[in-house]
Amino acid sequence: MSPQPLDSLKGFAVTFRQIFRKPITQQYPEVKRPVYPRFRGRHRLWRHENGLEKCVGCSLCAAACPADCIRVVAAENTADNRVSAGERYARIYEINMSRCIFCGYCELACPFDAITLGNEYEISEYSRDDLIYTKDMLLAEPIKRVPVADRERYDTPEPAYKTRS
């Protein structure tokens, strides 16, 4: 232990040494850090293999949503207009992304795994109206922009509700 003023001087050596080290900053828009595999980002609605929507318009997601950002208006499937696999389908399915807190409760509430949260997080817009995602937008394949980290690097297993068919 040296006296305090000398200890303070040691700090100058520490800060000076750092100049010659490479900064650890990742230059974000150019370099994207891979997100955690279970990262909760933009939502996605799914279809069955035969093209029918998984969503049956039960509104359980809307009920579970703490931010109250999901709006579902259901309608009956008819023989000549068959949209979903169930009796009813979501005529309107909207998520207000400016309200969403990405908690994933909708995903947990859904009995048919129709809605999941993807990994995309670059979803800002210039207008609030553009942040209300319609059913068509949610059903479409999102533009993959986010690198996802290798799942093997993490010891948390994929949750059962995501691996189930």
Binding site: G11, F12, T15, I19, R21, P23, I24
Partner: protein, 333 residues
């Protein structure tokens, strides 16, 4: 050997020097952010222009475009006067700092500083003290408790450390036997840089100067983590920019004064043709500015009682003893 320049030479020179100092301020902010960034394993600003070189200009444009906001209950003419007072006094102090021996170009005499004053050192301290009014007036006229408290903190700190600062240069004045900065530089060229015989004075000057310009670790007047901002809490846009500018220009002036008093002014180490003198001066000022930035990244902020104890119980006695011992030695030898 002082020659009075033509009046228009002084005018042009003042204009050029002010603009150079302002440009120096702009790029000092960039240099500070870059160096601090590298010391903290960051890049610092690197988006505006190559290597972030246009960042000061982007900052300036941003500040100029901001709304000239004013608290409703502020005393408007004092509120506006505050930053102007601070900035103009900061710029005025640089006028007496010599950066060269003076040049004869095409029969026109260009002096080495804007104003060669016999009592330059006293003038510099006097104008510098006047600058403190800018901070106090601005803080008081804002009609905000936080700005007022910040102004009081600034005031207390400036008053405490101004004593040590003035006493620390006394040794140099005694050795050179003059208050004129040109003569102090000449005296150093004749003997040696005063940093060697006046090492104690130099260290006291640096520490007190850091406190005078309210730089870390003495940046209590604007301690970001404790206060909102200090005396400029209610300022925004270019008025805030003027306050920020005055602080940085005070730092540049202080470094220039330190170079002039202790580090031989514009004289080089071995090789000083007249035309190279400003380069030597700039190089020395640059080293000192780097030291200030380095100090900011390294040392944590003092507590208020530590600040006062350090100023009154350490710096002031050391500066006084240094001045007395220098006086005795100069008389004895």
């Amino acid at each position: 050997m002082t020659r009075a320049p033509e009046w228009w030479v002084s005018l042009v020179q003042a204009f050029v020097v002010i603009n150079l100092v302002l440009a120096g301020f702009a790029y000092l902010t960039l240099a500070e952010r870059k160096i601090m960034g590298r010391m903290q394993l960051r890049y610092g600003p690197n988006r505006a222009g190559p290597y972030g070189l246009l960042q000061p200009i982007a900052d300036l444009v941003k500040l100029l475009h901001k709304e000239s906001f004013r608290p409703a209950a502020a005393i408007d003419w004092l509120y506006i006067l505050g930053p102007f007072l601070a900035a103009s006094t900061a710029l005025a102090t640089f006028s007496v700092i010599p950066f060269g021996p003076g040049w004869e170009i095409g029969g026109v005499w260009i002096p080495g500083q804007v104003a060669d004053v016999e009592i330059a050192l006293i003038l510099l301290f006097a104008i510098g003290s006047l600058g403190a009014y800018g901070f106090i007036v601005g803080g008081w006229a804002s009609d905000s408790k936080y700005a007022l408290l910040g102004a009081m903190r600034t005031c207390a700190q400036l008053v405490s450390y101004e004593v040590s600062l003035a006493l620390s240069v006394l040794g140099v004045v005694i050795m050179a036997g003059s208050l004129s900065l040109t003569e102090i530089v000449a005296a150093q060229a004749a003997s040696t840089w005063y940093v060697f015989p006046q090492l104690v004075g130099f260290v006291v000057f640096l520490l007190a100067g850091t406190a005078e310009t309210s730089r870390a670790p003495f940046d209590l007047p604007e301690a970001e983590q404790e206060l909102v901002a200090g005396y400029h809490t209610e300022y925004g846009g270019m008025r805030f920019g003027l306050y920020s500018m005055s602080e940085y220009i005070n730092l540049i002036t202080l470094s220039g004064l330190c170079v002039t008093l202790f580090l031989g002014g514009w004289h080089g180490v071995l090789f000083t043709p007249d035309w190279l003198a400003p380069v030597w001066f700039l190089a020395k000022v640059g080293v000192l500015l780097y030291l200030f930035i380095w100090m900011r990244t390294t040392l944590p902020r003092l507590r208020y009682d530590q600040l006062m104890r350090f100023g009154w119980k350490v710096l002031l006695p050391v500066a006084t003893v240094n001045a007395v011992v220098t006086a005795i030695l100069v008389v004895a030898l």
